[in-house]
Symmetry: C2
Subunit: 368 residues, 2 copies
């Protein structure tokens, strides 16, 4: 049995700056698990169907979520041609925290290798003025020689270009997965930060090759990329903090179809919400035990910063003061989460958590 590094550790509640909660029965199933992951503040992604492109929609979604969790909710809009500078000002006044950009539908300027966001410059200008955060899904759109392996690296010139054009715009490079992305963020000013997921601290390409449960976008990459992510997450650099990108999908969608003769593309996304903090600690512990990073890097202030402090500072929110305690007593990741009131019978939907059935830290909330 390898050493358990975090037994008895007490930490401020974590914050998770990139979550997908969905709506309907999936929201009902997933939102209550925010607390079990030791998290008391979440940045909620706006990619519902249809996506959230109005302040009204964001606020009504916020109300729906609040039925199921006490966590502080940082809401966002989906960058879309229907959004105007007025929408941005309205969003700021309504307490919206960010605007999420997906590169789908934008084109790459082949001369410069830069994704062409020109249509959105007036929006970015307004965001810069009112200080609303731009959340980037940093992958180049499909194109010649662009693959799931290099799409993130191919996007980095765009990150640098946007930072150069809008130097006061605060930007998050979401769920960064490569050593190259870490370096690019470091090259920018303090306005540019990056979230790192729990699962990208744990897995590499081999873990999702032939395993739909571990498949997500951006895909997990090489061992050297995982090392760079682990080093950034344990560096104490406030530009790198947790955003799990927890993305629940029904198992039937993960497997590309429910029926025994049905097959198709697997939904991309790893579900980490119920153990957000625990997965990060497990990833650090595994990395130390394998000799990938040194135990000495993982100080209390490094953990507190990566798991919430740095993100709260960036988004300018207060800590709740609540505390959590980890313990190494025998606990395993649950094998599945039932969706809908019908429970987990054969016909119902289930969501499979990351590292199902494996050993995990136990987490409890301390009394105020």
């Amino acid at each position: 049995m390898p050493p358990r590094l975090f037994d008895g550790l007490v930490l401020p509640a974590s914050a998770d700056f990139h979550v997908h909660l969905r709506d309907g029965p999936m929201l009902e199933a997933v939102a209550p698990t925010v607390a079990s992951g030791g998290v008391d503040a979440i940045f909620v992604m706006p990619n519902l169907v249809p996506p959230i492109t109005t302040v009204e929609h964001a606020l009504s979604y916020k109300k729906s979520i609040a039925k199921y969790t006490d966590a502080k909710l940082l809401m966002s809009l989906y960058l879309h041609p229907s959004i105007t500078p007025d929408t941005i000002r309205e969003a700021k006044q309504a307490g919206i925290y960010g605007v999420k950009s997906y590169p789908a539908g934008v084109t790459t300027n082949s001369a410069s290798g830069v994704v062409d966001y020109e249509q959105f410059y007036p929006i970015f200008e307004a965001m810069q003025e009112v200080d609303l955060v731009l959340n980037l899904h940093g992958e180049a759109p499909p194109g010649k020689d662009i693959t799931v392996l290099n799409a993130e690296e191919a996007f980095l010139p765009t990150l640098l270009d946007l930072h150069h054009r809008f130097p006061r715009l605060r930007i998050v490079l979401e769920h960064c997965t490569t050593a190259a992305a870490i370096e690019a963020v470091k090259k920018c000013g303090s306005n540019v930060v990056a979230t790192i997921t729990a699962h990208h601290l744990s897995i590499i390409v081999d873990d999702w090759a032939g395993d739909p449960i571990n498949f997500c976008k951006p895909v997990a990459k090489l061992p050297s990329d995982r090392v760079a992510l682990l080093q950034a997450a344990t560096s104490g650099d406030p530009r790198f903090f947790l955003g799990t990108d927890s993305a629940p999908h029904p198992l039937r969608a993960k497997k590309g179809g429910a029926g025994p003769h049905e097959c198709g593309k697997c939904a991309a996304g790893v579900f980490t919400q119920p153990y957000a903090t625990q997965y990060v600690l497990q990833a650090f512990e595994d990395a130390v035990n394998k000799g990938i990073i040194e135990k000495e890097r993982i100080t209390a202030s490094v953990l507190e910063g990566f798991l919430g402090g740095f993100g709260r500072e960036f988004y300018r929110i207060e800590a709740s003061g609540k505390k959590i305690r980890l313990s190494a007593r025998e606990e395993k990741v649950r094998s599945k989460l039932a969706v809908g009131s019908a429970g987990a019978d054969a016909a119902s939907d289930v969501v499979i958590p990351f590292r199902r059935d494996s050993q995990i830290y136990s987490l409890e909330w301390l009394e105020d």
Copy 2:
């Protein structure tokens, strides 16, 4: 509609120098499809459960296969510690064609980066003496910094080392997938050849990311690797010829479990047997239509060589003289193949062919 390049083309029957036919009901379902792929000679892989490690087993397996296909059957043994130099001599006399090596269970000499086959040197010596072919699954075993992406390239020093130690041993680097592998084979003498699959001429990493049906080992790699494979296959270099590595799995195994709440690792393998010739031609046509290779490369002698002539020459077998004709009339890849007499009802097994439901050349056998 992009141009159809091979309408009306008449070719000698193809030969497929790397097939998995399995046994039992799967053999019964798959073996008859050898003919529909325009193939009249196949090299049969020995990885049954248990694997074929005796001449007796190989010959009884050959009899089982012959019930379902008239194709010429080139049988092989599975490289295993139980095999002795006497086994090799017996195999040669019995008309066995090759010995297949899987690197599982062998170790890498960390100093040289070479897989340690030392225990098998007496076997290779005997194979060289009697002129039995060594068929290599060319991927380095798991290890630090070895991933599904670089396992083949990491194996290449082993290929060169084996060729150096046994210069008269005829070696096939099976299902090669990288530009680096093509270059390594070219560096060796004419004793070293490589098979290329139909699907690796078609797909890249993005095609199996999140798509279990396209997932195989070695995995399909980068666009530049696919270009190198297409160029090798259309070069007229007799060291590169078709071996489909057609690997049927029940759909439930491809999806990592049949039940609606069941999940696990997806079986690796792409099923191409029923359209072996057609898939190759489609890959060439697609590559020409996308400007990846020039139409002028694909001469009749290039096609005849890659699709059978070069492999027959290497294995020293005669062509049957049978001919096939391709036509561009409306035809689609079947959506599934039923396994077992029960047919394709919900409870039964099905195998999903590569590029199911997509346009494909129609193939007919010409009268003798």
